[in-house]
């Protein structure tokens, strides 16, 4: 394949990564934005989502679409509830003290991960996509007869991957409306602005925190349900999304939702593109170092304003 079509393919793969990453990172960003909590266990909520998707699909049998739709509803509910419980019984008890919260969520990370290892096992398990038609993609080339449309061999994407991109956009738009238009969203934003004043005005801050923590985890779970037909469920799969989400949240400017989405697109696309053109290990090294350098030299994030 020539460079042009190759780049287009890489961009499409990148867009899928970006879509999943945007969902997962949004979850982390909301939790950080509203609660100022650094949740190291976020990647494990993602992993749990994937494992639940596999579990629902394998219990139901029948057409993969039934299990998929059910998982899309159940996984975020179960994971969100679990997270809200963890918030209520662990994080609230330590008053969200920054250092202790980090320690506690590292602990949660291992508890969730190792419990999954004990029950789900160490194997990677696939989940059937609900539909998976291969769509060939055209490419335009300037030849003897002016522009011509050609169909390069290998330039294609599955319908499911396109669906992931559309689904992510839909969910994020829905979340946006929820945060800006609904009463619950208003309570969240009030808490984010100033939790003490919000409390004084009768906002049930503790309950808002539990909901936010659950919502953040639920978003990660949705991302995982969407990705699992492409990637397989595995008990260690939470590590990469955790790291990438953190990068996205920091580069986007801590707690800023538009920044998070832009950074997710940036990181997801470049991750996809770099890994098509380089050996995966080298690509990861380069990507990791580049992002680390961005963090080092623009610690306020790409969209954040520098002081003074």
């Amino acid at each position: 394949m020539e460079f042009g079509p190759h780049l287009m393919l890489a961009s499409l793969e990148g867009a899928v990564t970006a879509a999943i990453l945007a969902l997962t990172a949004m979850g982390l960003s909301i939790v950080f934005g509203v609660m100022r909590v650094v949740n190291i266990a976020h990647g494990e909520f993602f992993m749990l989502g994937a494992v639940i998707a596999w579990w629902v699909a394998s219990l139901l049998g029948g057409h993969p679409a039934i299990g998929f739709v059910l998982a899309l509803v159940l996984a975020p509910l179960i994971v969100g509830t679990l997270a809200a419980v963890a918030d209520r019984f662990i994080l609230q008890r330590i008053n969200y003290d920054p250092d202790r919260t980090i320690v506690a969520t590292i602990g949660l990370l291992y508890i969730i991960q190792q419990t999954t290892l004990m029950t789900f096992g160490p194997e990677a398990r696939p989940v059937q996509p609900p539909f998976n038609t291969r769509l060939a993609l055209p490419w335009f080339e300037y030849g003897e007869n002016g522009f011509a449309m050609i169909w390069p061999w290998g330039l294609s994407i599955t319908s499911y991957k396109l669906f992931v991109i559309v689904a992510a956009i839909t969910i994020i738009t829905g979340l946006w409306l929820f945060l800006t238009r609904s009463k619950a969203g208003l309570l969240m934003r009030a808490t984010q602005q100033d939790s003490e004043t919000a409390q004084a005005f009768g906002v049930p801050v503790q309950r808002v925190y539990s909901w936010v923590f659950g919502l953040g985890a639920g978003l990660a779970a949705i991302g995982a349900v969407l990705v699992v037909p492409i990637q397989q469920a595995h008990y260690l799969m939470g590590q990469d999304p955790l790291l990438l989400s953190f990068i996205v949240v920091i580069i986007g400017g801590l707690g800023s939702l538009p920044g998070t989405i832009i950074a997710a697109i940036l990181i997801g696309m470049s991750d996809g593109i770099i890994s098509v053109f380089f050996s995966p290990t080298l690509a990861k090294i380069i990507a990791t170092l580049v992002v680390a350098m961005v963090l080092v030299f623009r610690p306020q994030g790409l969209l954040g304003k520098s002081e003074g």
Partner: protein
């Protein structure tokens, strides 16, 4: 008895006790304790930065493996004897921590954690990428015949134990001394209130950089010693897990106490040793321990002892 006497008694008593245990404990536990002392040295390095300077790094595995691979590759690839290889390991750890410190210290808080984590991750991937020399995840063995220093075979039970004890004692006493010095007290001041320390005229940036270099070099010393004493270097030691371990040990034992790292490693080592005979998911214990620590004993074992009874503990 003045507090200074108590401190000396505590430190030299700890070392004497460790020496004595060699003659008392059964062989299995002697072997464990040699490993524990090397890992405790790693924890001492970590504690210097986290416990005394207040910087939470999630990338110390990079410094540990810089020492480990510095020594290991010098011996296997360049055929150097163990003593110069050890020095190369130390230099490697010192340089890596200086560069990472210089870069990462431009950030603070969460960003510092993530940046150190990412540099360590890049280091881990680099070890995998150069698999031809490092043999990646599988790692490589350092031949028993080569593990000799000053004519002493370090692979034998006795010499390994006492080499580990010497390593531990050097780092333990050095850190204990530094944290009682004006420099160490300034680091504690930075941990407590950096802005105030700066406005007392201390160059806090330079202090923190020195702290990272000292911390990283001690961690690398431990890594190099691990490769030398146990004859193995592998990429596993570069994973995130090995950056989280020292945090866990130090928190369990008591951050910002001199004896905390050793106590933490002993507890966690035996906790995992016992649980891994029951389940392969032994890190579950670590997870539960972390949550319980965060909830009920944020100051760790030695920290709680100090708060309750022994206020003089350094």
């Amino acid at each position: 008895m003045t507090n200074q006497h108590r401190v000396h008694l505590l430190h030299f008593g700890t070392i004497a006790l460790l020496a004595l245990l060699f003659f008392v404990l059964p062989a299995y536990h002697v072997g464990n304790l040699a490993r524990i002392m090397v890992l405790a040295t790693y924890a001492i390095g970590y504690n210097f930065l986290f416990g005394y300077t207040g910087l939470l790094s999630l990338g110390h595995a990079l410094f540990f493996t810089a020492g480990m691979y510095g020594l290991g590759l010098a011996m296997t690839q360049f055929g150097l004897p163990s003593a110069p290889a050890l020095i190369i390991g130390l230099i490697a750890a010192c340089l890596v921590s200086a560069v990472i410190g210089f870069l990462a210290l431009r950030t603070s808080g969460v960003a510092f954690m993530i940046v150190t984590l990412m540099f360590a991750q890049a280091g881990y991937l680099t070890i995998l990428y150069f698999g031809t020399y490092t043999r990646g995840d599988e790692g490589f063995v350092i031949q028993q015949a080569k593990r000799v220093m000053f004519g002493i075979d370090l692979s034998s039970e006795v010499s390994r134990y006492f080499a580990a004890l010497i390593l531990f004692s050097i780092c333990f006493l050095t850190v204990a001394r530094i944290v009682q010095s004006p420099f160490g007290k300034t680091l504690i001041a930075i941990r407590e209130n950096e802005e105030r320390a700066r406005m007392l005229g201390y160059d806090t940036g330079a202090h923190k950089l020195k702290a990272i270099i000292i911390s990283g070099t001690i961690s690398g010393f431990a890594g190099a010693a691990y490769a030398l004493l146990f004859g193995y270097a592998g990429a596993t030691f570069a994973t995130v897990q090995y950056s989280i371990f020292p945090l866990l040990w130090v928190l369990l034992g008591g951050a910002g106490t001199t004896v905390g790292p050793l106590i933490g490693v002993i507890f966690m080592f035996y906790l995992i040793d016992l649980s891994s005979s029951i389940t392969s998911a032994y890190m579950l214990i670590a997870g539960v321990a972390l949550v319980l620590l965060a909830m009920f004993a944020p100051q760790g074992l030695a920290g709680t002892l100090r708060k309750r009874w022994f206020k003089w503990m350094p």
